[in-house]
């Protein structure tokens, strides 16, 4: 605010400056006040998950103050972590997510490299196409895909429906367009001189990609990996439609279909399951928040 001193009205200058800083102090107080309110709104459900997960069913049905745990117990955690069924869901989710992340990276890194650096017939159209694909929601495609896979099963005998590995075919439709799109952005920000120099020095395109692009764009690749992981971990519609037997289910669907039995809600276990299901993305986020946010703002994300 040094420019304020230019003000010709000398005598009023000090008062004006003082009022600006006073305004700022008040703005700061109000900001904190509202941020606390918003933080309470945003954090209530996860905190409530944690509170409930530490309660016994007796305490839950006793209808005491729901915001406090009077007799904390780990019985819900023990019950779930020793249940084969729950561990199966966790295992399925983990294996599906790891495979999907790998497949996604194998497809989208070379594609993004090709689309951001090497022009070929239709490359510009394809880049736009990738973006449009990313805008097509899974809720539009699940019915035709379901029918398609059923027909493939009838024709070839290859059973895809109700097998966890069908998700390895389905999830990349969600992760690949998005990851390709944000990596096109990252790759485009790498100076052209860098790879031109590599080509002049006799590097092949594959070498240029692995020795120059991947190391330089590593933050972008980490961001894309985190996204591919969180998308495949959180996906709910595809596993709900394509898998039904309890040994094929992934976490979100597993928790919802097995822990909710008719009208009987075992809330302690449901909340524990939900918390454990939310844990892997939250842990990754806690450590890699900056990459996550960089990826979110890098271009185009679902909201």
């Amino acid at each position: 605010m040094s420019t304020v001193t230019i003000d010709k009205a000398g005598p009023t200058r000090k008062a004006k400056y003082g009022s600006i800083s006073r305004d700022r102090a008040w703005a700061l107080r109000w900001s904190y006040f509202f941020l606390v309110i918003f933080a309470i709104f945003f954090l209530t459900p996860p905190v409530y998950m944690l509170i409930t997960s530490l309660k016994s069913s007796a305490e839950i049905s006793a209808a005491t103050n729901p915001w406090w745990v009077f007799h904390p117990t780990l019985e819900n955690y023990i019950a779930l972590l020793t249940s084969n069924q729950f561990l199966r869901f966790f295992w399925n989710s983990a294996i599906v997510s790891i495979f999907v992340v790998t497949i996604t990276m194998l497809i989208s890194v070379p594609a993004a490299f090709a689309l951001s650096r090497m022009r070929f017939w239709g490359s510009a159209t394809l880049a736009t196409g990738v973006f449009l694909t990313y805008l097509i929601p899974e809720t539009l495609l699940f019915i035709p895909l379901f029918k398609m896979f059923a027909v493939i099963g009838d024709w070839t005998g290859i059973q895809l429906i109700n097998r966890w590995y069908v998700l390895l075919i389905l999830y990349p439709t969600l992760t690949v367009p998005f990851c390709t799109w944000i990596m096109i952005g990252y790759f485009a920000s790498i100076p052209k001189e860098l790879d031109e120099a590599a080509v002049i020095d006799g590097a092949s395109w594959i070498q240029t990609l692995t020795r120059i692009f991947i190391p330089v764009a590593f933050p972008g690749i980490i961001a894309a990996t985190i996204f591919a992981f969180t998308v495949s971990w959180a996906q709910f519609l595809y596993p709900l439609v394509f898998t039904t037997s309890t040994d094929q289910l992934v976490m979100p669907v597993g928790i919802i279909t097995t822990l909710i039995k008719g009208d009987v809600f075992n809330w302690g276990q449901i909340m524990t399951g939900a918390l454990l299901g939310a844990a892997p993305p939250l842990i990754i986020y806690a450590f890699l928040m900056d990459y996550y946010i960089a990826g979110l703002t890098a271009g185009a994300t679902k909201g």
Partner: protein, 311 residues
């Protein structure tokens, strides 16, 4: 470049050779590039474009998929009262949720931007948590918060003398609940996008405005909003698409009830197509999402095409 720099005396002699190898490399380039993009092309063609057109084909068949009925499914839908409820609810749901998410995100981004830079990371981290938790999991927490008999909300409200609210049992409250949860999930995304946009507005503009005597409101209206216009438009359109096509929140919270009042296109398509095994009718329902997606996509593309051309 390092190699060349190390051997400056040989650089000139090599120039000619390099130029021809660069030329060869460029000629091979398009083939290599096409091969690198081929898995992506195959994936999009077989698992996105083909099913999208297959949905159009499916929508013209009868329930047992043995006979072509043309637009019969659509005619049938138009005569059903539930269909119009779904259209109405989808619009109310998407528009209300997106407006609230955008406004809330804008406000929160401002507050975070206001506080000293060193504290921002902590607040940003906390406020983004709803966006990180898988929606299917956090919606379960909301379902428990909304529980009519034992839950936290009604317990807390009872201290203020507000009677038990049938959060998911009454049509209007159920609509309110699904929108509230959607806002909770989506507002952090707007917050983070707007925060990034706010950081890119040069501080000098605000200082200049302050010197000119602009008040707080004028600074937002004449400086912040014009500078953020693009990001606001794109974020809102994105969110409109995703909110319109939402599935998990409504499915878990109300499953479309009470009396189909909270069904949106995706959940109703699931109910009819998968649970009710009427695949053609389900496909017809989900196709109604296409027009709104197309309109939003055209607007987004207009802004994004610059980047596509650079690629």
């Amino acid at each position: 470049m390092a190699d060349v720099a190390l051997r400056p005396n040989r650089a000139a002699a090599q120039t000619a050779r390099k130029r021809s190898s660069l030329h060869n490399a460029l000629r091979r380039k398009s083939t290599v590039a096409f091969l690198m993009a081929l898995p992506l092309i195959l994936l999009i063609a077989t698992l996105v474009i083909y099913p999208a057109f297959y949905a159009l084909h499916l929508a013209t068949l009868n329930k047992s998929m043995s006979r072509f009925v043309g637009l019969g499914n659509f005619e049938f839908l138009f005569k059903r009262e539930t269909f119009w409820l779904v259209v109405q609810q989808s619009c109310i749901f998407a528009i209300t949720a997106v407006i609230f998410k955008a406004v809330l995100g804008f406000i929160i981004a401002h507050f975070v931007h206001n506080i000293p830079a060193k504290g921002q990371r902590k607040w940003r981290g906390m406020l983004l948590v709803p966006w990180v938790i898988p929606p299917a999991m956090s919606t379960l927490a909301w379902l428990w918060l909304f529980d009519p008999s034992y839950s936290a909300f009604n317990y807390t409200l009872s201290f203020f003398g507000i009677g038990p609210i049938p959060w998911t049992g009454d049509a209007y409250w159920a609509r309110f609940s699904v929108i509230l949860v959607n806002i909770w999930v989506g507002a952090p995304f707007f917050m983070i996008m707007y925060l990034a946009a706010l950081k890119s507005v040069p501080e000098q503009l605000y200082e200049a405005a302050a010197i000119d005597g602009a008040n707080w409101w004028q600074r937002i209206w004449y400086v912040t909003l014009p500078m953020m216009r693009n990001i606001i438009a794109i974020t809102t359109l994105f969110s409109l698409i995703v909110t319109f096509a939402n599935f998990d929140i409504v499915r878990i919270l109300t499953a479309g009830g009470p009396l189909d009042h909270t069904h949106i296109f995706a959940t109703w398509a699931f109910r009819i197509g998968i649970e009710g095994s009427d695949i053609p009718l389900g496909a017809s329902v989900s196709l109604f999402m296409v027009p709104i997606l197309a309109v939003a996509a055209i607007f987004i593309l207009r802004d994004i095409s610059k980047r596509g051309n650079e690629a």
